[in-house]
């Protein structure tokens, strides 16, 4: 049979190799290295603080926050989940993972919300951004791990950069969607009373989009957590590393412990951020309802279990 490759073969792999190895890395490595600086600062501060706080104090503090944002059930669950993590001996790893995830989500928010606002303001920008986001969401993360290692080296910060790439799209998309879905007559009313574009955004559009933005933040957070193990491949520590080493040594016990740690952390963070999004009608959720909601199909954390184990 005749096939197109008989006439023309495209050496795509060679091209990419040339582009990355011979052009991008030698020319831009210092620039990329410099980009790490803010991430390193945030991560080190956060990691230092989280590891310095005594376990009991942190657990009580987080449970109180959970109580304020998501109700009594989530607070009790947080208390038990964190105590359990401590008892299986993974407390320091959990804090490292938490600081990593929070750093990644922080940068996703700082980058993602302005991009989402810009996409909502301009159809052209949205059209340009869309394929980029599609690629970010569909490309397997292993594909960009290699160039990331070449440009940034190995360690926590490159792991966080990979996490940011993976977890950024939802917050951009949902910020964009939230602002675009604000009722047209409300925006018109703001304009009719003489509001500037910024005033309209700040007074009307963003507050009304906040629920959707928070849903985006929640998704971003969940995606960031799901990158923990993959980030461990390029030298990030924490619970991901526990799972990864367990996998390497066929130590099923250790891998399971790490996986359970990730899942518990995911559930706590998920319920808390969801609670934040629904803050206007603060209601207390019973423990039974919380436990029931853990098994509801919309919980992202169920996907987590498969990935981690």
């Amino acid at each position: 049979m005749v096939s197109p490759s008989d006439f023309l073969t495209i050496p795509l792999d060679d091209w990419v190799n040339f582009f990355v190895k011979d052009w991008l890395v030698p020319n831009f490595r210092p620039a990329f290295r410099a980009m790490q600086w803010p991430i390193t600062q945030v991560l080190n501060t956060l990691d230092g603080v989280l590891n310095a706080i005594p376990m009991v104090l942190f657990t009580v503090g987080l449970s109180l926050i959970a109580w304020r944002t998501a109700g009594r059930g989530v607070a009790i669950f947080t208390l038990f989940a964190l105590a359990f993590i401590d008892m299986i001996g993974l407390w320091p790893e959990t804090m490292t993972t938490l600081s990593m995830v929070v750093t990644a989500v922080f940068f996703c928010t700082v980058i993602g919300i302005p991009l989402g606002i810009a996409a909502a303001a301009s159809d052209r920008f949205q059209a340009a951004l869309r394929p980029v986001l599609d690629i970010m969401q569909t490309i397997p993360s292993f594909v960009y791990l290699v160039p990331i290692v070449m440009l940034f080296g190995v360690g926590m910060v490159p792991g966080i950069i990979a996490t940011i790439i993976f977890a950024l799209p939802p917050i951009i998309r949902l910020t964009n969607l939230g602002i675009r879905n604000v009722r047209g007559d409300l925006v018109e009313a703001a304009t009719a009373f003489g509001a500037t574009a910024w005033q309209t955004l700040w007074e009307v559009q963003f507050p009304l989009a906040l629920r959707t933005v928070m849903a985006g933040l929640n998704q971003t957070l969940m995606l960031a957590l799901s990158m923990v193990v993959i980030a461990a491949l390029i030298g990030a520590g924490g619970l991901g590393l526990t799972v990864y080493t367990g996998l390497g040594r066929l130590d099923v016990g250790n891998a399971t412990a790490g996986g359970i740690g990730i899942v518990l952390l995911a559930i706590v963070l998920d319920r808390m951020t969801q609670g934040l999004g629904e803050k206007r009608s603060v209601r207390t959720v019973s423990l039974a309802a919380t436990l029931k909601s853990l098994f509801s199909p919309r919980a992202v954390s169920s996907g987590q279990t498969e990935r981690a184990s």
């Binding site: 009722r183 007559d185 409300l186 018109e188 009313a189 703001a190 304009t191 009719a192 009373f193 003489g194 509001a195 500037t196 005033q199 007074e203 009307v204 507050p207 009304l208 206007r280």
Partner: protein
């Protein structure tokens, strides 16, 4: 009254390159032709009108007639394709964005069909929105918002959220928000259309009540001719982007410009549109001191009426009926005074016809009085009903 808003030959064509459509329109092509040729829709075509200060100018039309587009051009939410909109010497159609914002903040505010209240703000914050945008400090803002809420009777709900209020209350908040910045001009885009009929009536009356003290210049959009006739000092009827007829309520109902307008006026409650003025006859009366019962009977026979008013100088002394006087003549041929009925019905020239129904039931003619209480005209009871019946037959 000075002209507050002057709209001159305004056009709006939706689509790219509106000047092409404009050119075709000016060459007398139809809207359908223009749509086929260029894909452009004509929203408003050559509308011109002046609104005097303190007046309510109502634009009435069905959906798609261009009335909402028209009102949005007055505060620049939609930019006209051609023409001028002059508010106190500023042309809204061509002024700078900063000037336009200034006009919106201080001079023109708007009330919306679906209220358009901000759900994340309290009632007071909603009312104070325009003031916040202007940069007014929080305390003064709150005070002004409470004043505006007091005007619509909702101070007690200042800290509720809009979704806790009924539709009528929500639109009162919308009205208060419009009034809070103390604008000179109020644009109202079908403000009462989303309300129940009974609430709508209340709101119409409340608006008229407010207007008596506030004397704003109001441009009011509606699809309901009854509403237009109740509220409007001047009414413009719009169809397919054009003004079909402009005039007062009576002018429009009495002389519809074409079949389209006539079709609307057919179902109108005429008794609310027409006033005593339209049925009043001349002030025919006899003098108490100089005329006798015989004179009075002759006058009634000449006029073909059953009763006549009796004046004492310029004051109305009362009325006498034909039947009473003939009885009086048989007995003693005496003076008018003994047959005088002093409890007579009276109305003003501006009284709407429906208020005359009960007055006409007494059987006596209705005295039309002027501001000083002097007799200005007389309405025969049957004339009230003849007017309604006659107009209905003519339409």
């Amino acid at each position: 009254m000075p002209v507050k808003v002057s709209v001159k030959n305004i056009f709006k064509i939706f689509g790219m390159e509106p000047h092409r459509g404009l050119e075709l329109l000016k060459n007398g092509r139809s809207k359908e032709d223009i749509f086929e040729e260029t894909g452009q829709t004509v929203g408003v075509e050559d509308a011109s009108f002046d609104v005097e200060e303190g007046q309510i100018f109502v634009v009435m039309g069905l959906s798609g007639s261009g009335k909402s587009t028209l009102v949005r051009m007055i505060n620049g939410l939609i930019e006209p394709s051609a023409g001028q909109i002059i508010i106190d010497g500023d042309d809204v159609a061509s002024c700078s964005p900063a000037r336009l914002r200034d006009i919106r903040r201080n001079k023109v505010s708007m009330v919306f069909q679906h209220f358009a209240l901000f759900p994340h703000k309290t009632v007071a914050e909603n009312v104070a929105f325009g003031l916040k945008i202007k940069g007014m400090p929080a305390e003064e803002r709150r005070r002004r918002a409470m004043e505006a809420l007091a005007q619509v009777g909702l101070e007690s709900r200042a800290d509720s959220y809009p979704d806790e209020l009924s539709g009528g209350m929500q639109q009162r908040v919308g009205l208060a928000r419009g009034l809070a910045a103390e604008p000179e001009i109020l644009l109202m885009d079908e403000p009462f259309s989303a309300l129940d009929p009974l609430i709508r009536r209340d709101m119409q009356e409340e608006l008229l009540e407010l207007q008596r003290t506030l004397k704003k210049t109001i441009i009011f959009i509606t699809h309901d001719l009854n509403e237009a006739l109740i509220l409007g000092n001047q009414i413009a009827i719009m169809r397919n982007g054009r003004f079909v007829q402009t005039g007062t309520a009576e002018e429009i109902v009495a002389n519809p410009a074409n079949d389209y307008v006539a079709a609307f006026t057919q179902d109108i409650d005429r008794s609310r549109v027409f006033t005593a003025d339209s049925v009043a006859g001349p002030a025919d009366a006899v003098q108490l001191s100089t005329d006798t019962a015989k004179n009075a009977i002759e006058r009634m026979e000449a006029a073909g009426s059953d009763a006549i008013y009796v004046l004492d100088g310029e004051r109305i002394a009362g009325a006498v009926t034909y039947r009473d006087l003939t009885a009086l003549m048989r007995d003693n041929g005496g003076a008018l005074a003994s047959a005088l009925i002093t409890d007579f019905p009276s109305a003003r020239r501006s009284t709407p016809l429906f208020e005359l129904y009960s007055l006409a039931q007494s059987g006596l003619p209705i005295a039309v009085t002027n501001r000083k209480g002097r007799l200005d005209g007389v309405i025969a009871p049957q004339a009230v009903f003849a007017k309604l019946a006659g107009e209905a037959a003519a339409a």
